[in-house]
């Protein structure tokens, strides 16, 4: 099956914007997001013309991605928000150090940050439970955004996000940055060009789900706003092991199938050109944590499958170690695989690899993904991982998890976004805790 080459949007480099803006407007320019205003003589973007960013939620992932934002000279970070004062302070220090000043503002309540008129866009890297709520609040406040994956905790949350962004004309970049990574783009391109023949199976491997031993509640540490940490999740006592291992409890995370799997389902959807739809059938089986030893809730080992209406299959394994994750596209004339840990592309026939003429950048570099967001903010055109695409790829993982939790084969209508099973349909939605309105 040959799918036409995608039309990737024209990307402007910062430098070209800068040159143009000098020529275009001279000294008296109206500050706005369009890159044709005033410029400094040294070629840097005038402060009034920079896109002003802020960060909501700064843990390990945010600290990892943040340098990619800071490297962009036509934006500026001016504020941070986190429910942990130590993290917030450390983020401020990181940003201040980068700019050589003390200007970064701190907001323990992210709603105060969103109320700031001078902030144009936000980088959301909270825990998963917060992603949709924070994104929707940001869209309502008129901010464009980059939000880490997974974009939602439930299918209904994801749909709300898509609708909200459409309603407000929000530019949204989902944090599945492999769409901007050379190795993955190459694999997708090869699939689209039919280099492995007719694609029939996509094989995905994420790692064995970790298990979290039982832990007792403790007082909330000083500097933590635990109520905000929980956010839309119904109250639970503060248990350090659960808070640190939030990824493996259904309220706050959904294990490797979503945590990592959504990167791969995103690639699969993209390769298939199905950003607006999805598979029609899901089934799988898994091994749950030993309840005597562990309190974590998400599967330890899993094998889960889905099938598209035209017969293309996907199998996702949750097994082996973190280093062993990969995606492999299998066609009737060959296969191509990207190993996540090494960023190595392998293929059969090997001649496919000769078509690759660009040096690969690793998935850990989100720079191009960030750049794509900034270009889209200026052009008001959709990002490479727009909300609908992010939601659809996420839905696949969510449906896989629902199938595992119900132990049932499920049929899915991607148009109506409904299962053929009442119990599963109910699991598409979860009421948030007061006062979080989405």
């Amino acid at each position: 099956m040959i799918i036409p080459k995608s039309k990737l949007s024209v990307q402007f480099t910062r430098r070209h914007f800068l040159k143009a803006t000098v020529a275009a407007t001279g000294a008296f320019a109206i500050p706005n997001l369009i890159p044709a205003s005033a410029l400094g003589r040294d070629g840097s973007v005038a402060p009034s013309n920079r896109i002003v960013f802020a960060n909501i939620g700064i843990g390990g992932r945010a600290r990892h991605v943040m340098p990619n934002f800071l490297a962009q000279t036509d934006i500026v970070f001016t504020a941070v928000s986190d429910c942990r004062s130590d993290r917030m302070k450390s983020a401020k220090d990181m940003i201040d150090q980068h700019y050589g000043n003390k200007d970064c503002r701190m907001y323990p309540d992210f709603r105060e940050l969103l109320a700031q008129k001078d902030i144009d866009a936000v980088f959301i890297a909270t825990g998963d439970r917060w992603h949709t709520t924070a994104s929707i609040y940001a869209a309502r406040a008129g901010k464009d955004m980059y939000c880490e994956k997974p974009i939602s905790m439930t299918i209904s949350e994801g749909r709300s996000l898509v609708e909200t962004c459409r309603r407000y004309g929000t530019i949204y970049q989902g944090g599945t940055q492999r769409r901007s990574t050379a190795s993955y783009r190459f694999a997708v391109e090869m699939v689209r060009q039919g280099r492995i023949g007719r694609l029939h199976t996509v094989e995905i491997q994420v790692w064995t789900g970790p298990t979290i031993p039982h832990g007792k509640p403790t007082p909330v540490p000083e500097g933590w706003d635990y109520d905000t940490w929980l956010g839309p999740v119904q109250w639970r006592p503060f248990v350090p092991a659960r808070v640190n291992g939030w990824n493996y409890f259904w309220d706050t995370g959904e294990g490797p199938i979503i945590g990592m799997g959504c990167h791969y389902t995103d690639q699969m959807q993209w390769a298939l050109g199905r950003d607006h739809t999805g598979p029609v059938e899901f089934e799988g089986h898994c091994e749950w944590p030993d309840p005597v030893k562990y309190m974590s809730e998400t599967p330890v080992l899993a094998e889960t499958r889905c099938r598209y209406a035209d017969g293309i299959n996907c199998v996702m394994y949750s097994r082996k170690t973190f280093k062993d994750r990969y995606i492999r596209y299998i066609g009737d004339e060959g296969w191509i695989q990207v190993d996540d840990e090494t960023n190595e592309v392998t293929a059969e026939p090997k001649s496919i690899l000769n078509l690759r003429d660009t040096a690969g950048i690793s998935w850990t570099n989100a720079g191009d993904h960030v750049r794509n967001l900034i270009d889209s903010i200026r052009s008001r055109r959709p990002t490479i991982c727009h909300p609908e695409a992010a939601h659809r790829s996420q839905t696949i993982c969510q449906a896989m998890n629902i199938g595992l939790r119900l132990g049932k084969k499920l049929r899915w209508d991607p148009v109506k976004e409904r299962f053929d099973c009442e119990e599963a349909n109910r699991m598409r939605h979860r009421e948030p805790r007061t006062p979080w309105l989405i």
């Binding site: 402007f12 309603r167 119904q234 309840p291 052009s379 132990g407 009421e431 007061t434």
Partner: protein, 661 residues
């Protein structure tokens, strides 16, 4: 066997139909009711397994629901009740409504009750939520409003409308959002009234609800009312995101007026909305749209022109392509770049002259790269390649070199003859470009001719590029002896010493016995340059097969330099074995120390020996501790060796360290 299986299946069948879970459930419930974080989650996980089993068993589901209702009793811990509500989210029916209604009355448990009720699309569940809204006070009403909004409950509109004036802004906003979701006629009227009131504290919620209502009206076919709301929301006083969303919605629902609306925005003074309008051009269906909006290009600011070109490029029709092509030579760099990138994706042979003109005009490396990329991407293989080839032959210097790279990128290996031809010239930049492309696209079959070119270069500045191309081509020949054969054949043909030197160096990339023999023979050549090349090549030999030859050179060097080079080569070879050092490696180090003629050379050997993971290495290093000229290096070597072997030879390591103190 068959009857046995049948019996087992019958028994299993009977077992499955019996309410066996009842007894288990009561114990499970008793355990689950006491659950608090930190305890075993076994009872909870068993209940979840029962839930899985119950998906295909309505009788079990009813039994499980009854159990969850019991678990919601006040005697259970909060965490147990929370868990029960989570299960009722999936399996709850009307039977659980009374107990959930009770939970709604308490602000502490209203949240978990809503959790269970929010997912149930049962009319009576909605009724419970609605009734609670009349009795519950405080912020629990926020949760109820959200749930009722999600249920699209038209019967709660009156109550919600009253709440929009609540003194608690969060309560009011929750009610407004819910009304926006319900979006029936009374809800629309309430929201319209709120728009008129324009209270700042609820403004965001009113705007949100208005957008939802307009969207629903448009979807239901009431375009007129929807347009009226959108027109209100498009006012400049509204926040920019409301205006942007509204404009996009108007483009979507007012298909006939969309082009005029875009023009209005382009002709207006609101520069923040112009990108939204330009982006919409990409999606227009009408055939004349490209021509119409292309005519607007000169009236826009350059950055907007760039966006317009991007939008026209997405359309990709003839009119769009034509206007984009013209802008390749724009005086503005941003516009020019946008056009160059766009033609690369859209255009074919006709764009070549424009791109080459742009290439001639620019000195900017980034722009040159963009043009090269665009030329490489152009459509129309045969015709486009022909034109680029013709242009290439007419040009010189850097422009020719760009076009050579483009041809190579477009044609891959089939460009090799053209590239080889280019290497025969005297113009440095094109020759370099040709060799760079050859390095990428040549195959083993091209090696003989590449070697010919290498030895007959007219300009020495390109030698390293040529060598690099040859080396990369050699690497593509998997059979090493085939590489040697090709180099040998070239050596046989070579008539001058300079060429022979070049070819001898390449033997390093073969490194088999035949190649070694050729180099050994070259050590006795009449020409001193050839002899020196042989020594230098052997010095870099990748394996120990050259060891004896290097030792020989070391012992009887033709000149001092050769002896020094040989020692360096030997030390390098010895160090390569360090991690897997064995007796033979140690013998080689002994040879090296025996051949070291001064303390500097001993230091050199010690620096390699320090990495050897073998106890005998200590025997070689320790005696040198007493030599004051090299004692510091010896001490360091002893420490490193001892550290590396201490796990396997603790005593030897410890003794050595003691001596090194």
């Amino acid at each position: 066997m068959k009857s046995q299986t049948l019996t087992i299946m019958t028994v299993l069948g009977i077992m499955l139909t019996l309410p066996l879970y009842a007894a288990d459930l009561s114990q499970l419930l008793a355990d689950a009711a006491k659950y608090e974080s930190g305890q075993s989650v076994e009872p909870l996980q068993k209940i979840e397994q029962l839930l899985r089993d119950s998906v295909a068993r309505p009788d079990l589901q009813a039994e499980l629901e009854a159990a969850m209702i019991k678990l919601l009793a006040p005697g259970s811990t909060f965490e147990a009740r929370r868990f029960a509500c989570q299960q009722l989210t999936v399996i709850g029916t009307d039977a659980s409504l009374p107990v959930l209604a009770e939970l709604l009355k308490n602000e502490e448990t209203a949240g978990i009750a809503c959790l269970a009720l929010g997912c149930q699309r049962l009319p009576k569940a909605v009724e419970v939520l609605r009734n609670a809204l009349t009795t519950v006070r405080g912020r629990a009403r926020i949760q109820l409003s959200i749930a009722l909004g999600n249920h699209r409950d038209v019967q709660s509109v009156r109550l919600l409308a009253e709440m929009t004036h609540d003194t608690d802004a969060d309560v009011a906003c929750a009610a407004i959002i819910a009304l926006g979701k319900i979006a029936d006629k009374p809800s629309c009227e309430s929201i319209a009234a709120l728009r008129k009131e324009a209270r700042p504290v609820i403004a965001w919620a009113v705007a949100d609800a208005s957008l939802r209502v307009a969207e629903k009206l448009a979807a239901d076919g009431d375009r007129k009312t929807a347009l009226a709301i959108y027109t209100e929301l498009l006012q400049p006083a509204q926040p920019i995101n409301i205006q942007r969303g509204t404009l996009a919605a108007l483009f979507s629902i007012d298909k006939r007026g969309v082009e005029q609306r875009i023009l209005d925005v382009l002709h207006g003074s609101d520069s923040t909305l112009k990108p939204v309008a330009i982006a919409a051009i990409a999606l227009l269906k009408s055939r004349g749209a490209s021509r119409k909006f292309a005519a607007e290009l000169p009236k826009l600011r350059p950055c907007e022109q760039a966006l317009m070109i991007e939008a026209l490029a997405s359309r990709g029709d003839t009119a769009a392509v034509s206007v984009i092509r013209e802008n390749i030579l724009s005086s503005d760099a941003v516009v020019r770049r946008s056009a160059i990138v766009a033609v690369g994706k859209l255009d074919g042979a006709a764009a070549v002259p424009f791109l080459i003109q742009a290439l001639v005009k620019t000195q900017d490396d980034e722009e040159i790269q963009t043009i090269e990329s665009a030329l490489g991407d152009l459509k129309g293989n045969k015709e486009t390649n022909k034109i680029i080839m013709e242009e290439m032959k007419r040009t010189a210097g850097n422009i020719r070199s760009v076009l050579i790279s483009v041809i190579a990128k477009r044609c891959g290996h089939t460009a090799v003859p053209v590239l080889i031809e280019e290497t025969a010239g005297t113009d440095v930049a094109p020759i370099k470009a040709a060799f760079h492309s050859l390095a990428r696209f040549s195959t083993g079959d091209d090696l003989p001719v590449l070697l010919e070119r290498l030895v007959s270069l007219k300009v020495p500045e390109v030698r390293s590029d040529a060598e690099s191309a040859v080396v990369r081509t050699m690497a593509r020949i998997e059979n090493i002896s085939s590489r040697t054969d090709v180099v040998c054949a070239a050596l046989d043909k070579s008539s001058n010493n300079e060429s022979r030197c070049l070819l001898l160096r390449l033997l390093l990339n073969c490194a088999d016995a035949k190649a070694l023999a050729i180099l050994k023979a070259a050590l006795k050549d009449n020409n001193p340059d050839v002899r020196e090349t042989a020594v230098r090549t052997l010095t870099n030999w990748p394996d120990n097969s050259a060891w004896d030859t290097l030792i020989e050179i070391r012992r009887q060097p033709e000149k001092e330099l050769f002896g020094t080079l040989a020692l360096r080569g030997l030390v390098r070879l010895a160090a390569k074995q360090n991690v897997a050092a064995d007796k033979d490696s140690m013998d080689r180090y002994r040879q090296l120390f025996a051949n070291a003629q001064n303390d500097d050379e001993r230091k050199l050997v010690l620096s390699a020996l320090a990495g050897a993971v073998h106890p005998d290495a200590l025997q070689l290093a320790l005696p040198l501790l007493s030599n004051s000229a090299v004692s510091a290096e010896a001490k360091m070597a002893v420490k490193k060796i001892a550290e590396a072997i201490k796990d396997k030879h603790p005593q030897i390591a410890q003794d050595a360290l003691q001596k090194a103190k």
